[in-house]
């Protein structure tokens, strides 16, 4: 099953910690967003492989924008 990880808020992409093909466990940090001087980690909901990475460091995200897909 594919998990779609999306942004919960308007934010900048500060750090991307995975790439396509990275194997992740549930709870692993995929990326860190930044807004209002707060760093907001984005976690994997479940285990799998990152099949699509839709963001790069410095991108500006709207609420609901896709960050990654995990299979």
């Amino acid at each position: 099953m594919t998990q779609q990880i999306t942004a919960d808020l308007v934010a900048n992409v500060w750090k991307v910690l995975v790439s396509e093909g990275t194997v992740v466990a549930a709870g692993d940090t995929l990326a860190i967003l930044e807004s209002m001087k707060m760093e907001i980690p984005v976690h994997a909901d479940g285990a799998g492989t990152v099949t699509r990475l839709a963001v790069a460091e410095g991108d500006v995200l709207d609420e609901g924008d896709l960050i990654a897909e995990i299979d």
């Binding site: 919960d8 808020l9 308007v10 934010a11 750090k15 910690l17 940090t29 860190i32 807004s35 209002m36 001087k37 707060m38 760093e39 907001i40 980690p41």
Partner: protein
């Protein structure tokens, strides 16, 4: 006393510094980013200088631009507020080198006490207790296991390059330590490009209690009580109160004495805060030094309320070469004060929620103070921190202060940005907050099992 002042900050703290300076007849200059041109602090200053960009690096964090504004307006002094350039020793040095007065401790003291490891060594040198821990990054997992025998469990595995609560994990025994050591090294390498890891004793159910100190130009250092700042999310404060309900008289005396000892040892001048962790069950409580903040704190108004002092005025006095207000050192706190931070964040997960303020109504009444950075029609942007306003209540007893807070929170209206006001109302309903027995776990406990989370 100085006669003119540039405030190198924004929002509520710039406005608050300008208010005191204006009362003292000091000419004020604000600097502001294009985003902030309409905010109250810009209007309320005698003069305003527009800075070039909106990011912190282009505006309030830009030492060159701030110094240029100070020269262009011919001010005598610079007040840095908190954040931005306030704990930047190099900036303080440049202000002094330009022949201006720096409202804060000397650049040498900022460099000494602003660095966590230096400050910890200084505390140890004057006999102030610190948490057991490693002072240098560990060589490998085996070294971590070895060091943990001295530090003791439970302990915190921390990325040496970390900050803001990231790259930290608790280990309760050797098995957990080995797993967390590997996890934190991997995380820190990817995030900070620095795999260095430190260990520090972890205190479960601790309280974050800090001491306000004030160093006069005469070399005297006073302690103005403590603040309990244990209501935190992601290691950042949401609510602060003074006096702390979770401190017995003997421990309070020891903490205030330790803070003054540390301040005297480094020649501290101006307002500063000695942050500590208080741990242990009632009757067996003890404290360790955490770090020092060499500037005015966000939560300084609770100290002002109970001591009847204006800390910005005291900062300006110290910077002007004057001793503290006579008699300040012998004052004792009167009543109880609590501060609630009204942040542009959702009240459940505390995610940023900036936006345009379409409605803003502040509570008014006896024992109520609001320090706000915004007014109706202003826009809270994602470029800066989320603090919109601070609600401070003061009454004769803690119970009365809680009652004033309940009324004031109900009257406070913010429409547009998200706000933490509903969180504070939930907090007042929690029995451990009402009793004053809460610790730094309270926000997590409040949100445990909350389906909205």
């Amino acid at each position: 006393m100085i006669r003119s002042l540039l405030v190198a900050n924004r929002g509520e703290i710039a406005r608050r510094v300008i208010r005191t300076a204006g009362r003292l007849g000091i000419r004020t200059v604000a600097v502001h980013s294009p985003h902030d041109a309409q905010l109250p602090f810009v209007r309320e200053a005698d003069e305003a200088v527009a800075l070039a960009g909106n990011t912190p690096a282009e505006s309030y964090g830009n030492a060159d631009a701030v110094l240029a504004a100070a020269r262009a307006t011919g001010v005598e002094a610079v007040h840095p507020g908190y954040g931005f350039l306030s704990e930047n020793a190099d900036f303080a040095h440049r202000v002094l080198a330009a022949g201006l007065t720096w409202v804060g401790p000397s650049p040498e003291v900022i460099a000494l006490m602003g660095d966590k490891r230096n400050a910890r060594d200084q505390a140890v040198a004057v006999g102030v207790p610190v948490a057991p821990g490693t002072s240098e990054p560990l060589a490998d997992e085996g070294a971590a296991v070895q060091a943990a025998r001295t530090v003791g469990y439970p302990l915190m595995v921390k990325a040496a390059a970390g900050g803001g609560g990231m790259g930290m994990a608790v280990a309760r025994d050797e098995v957990e330590l080995r797993a967390q050591y590997r996890a934190v090294v991997a995380f820190a390498s990817r995030l900070f490009g620095d795999p260095g890891v430190l260990l520090e004793r972890y205190y479960h159910r601790a309280r974050h209690i800090e001491v306000q100190i004030l160093g006069g130009a005469d070399g005297e250092v006073l302690a103005l009580g403590e603040r309990n700042c244990s209501v935190q999310r992601r290691h950042q404060k949401l609510v602060e109160e003074s006096p702390s309900p979770a401190l017995d008289a003997a421990l309070r005396t020891r903490m205030l004495t330790a803070a003054v000892t540390l301040g005297r040892a480094v020649g501290y001048r101006g307002a500063g805060t000695v942050e500590c962790l208080v741990h242990g069950p009632p009757g067996q409580q003890d404290f360790v030094f955490l770090e020092m903040n060499t500037r005015l704190q966000v939560e300084h108004p609770v100290t002002e309320a109970v001591f009847g002092v204006d800390l910005v005025e005291e900062q300006l006095r110290a910077a002007s070469g004057l001793a503290p207000t006579p008699g300040l050192g012998s004052r004792t706190p009167v009543g109880h004060a609590i501060e609630f931070r009204v942040n542009a964040e959702d009240p459940v997960r505390f995610l940023p929620g900036p936006g345009r303020v379409t409605r803003w109504r502040e509570p008014v009444g006896e024992g109520i103070r609001v320090d706000a950075g915004y007014a109706e029609g202003d826009t809270v942007t994602p470029a800066y921190d989320s603090l919109m306003a601070k609600l401070v209540v003061h009454a004769g007893t803690r119970a009365e202060a809680l009652a004033v807070a309940a009324g004031a929170l109900a009257e406070f209206v913010v429409v547009g940005p998200r706000s933490t006001l509903p969180f504070h109302q939930d907090l007042l309903g929690r029995s451990e907050f009402a009793r004053g027995t809460y610790d730094t776990g309270i926000v997590t406990q409040m949100r445990a099992g909350d389906p909205r989370r």
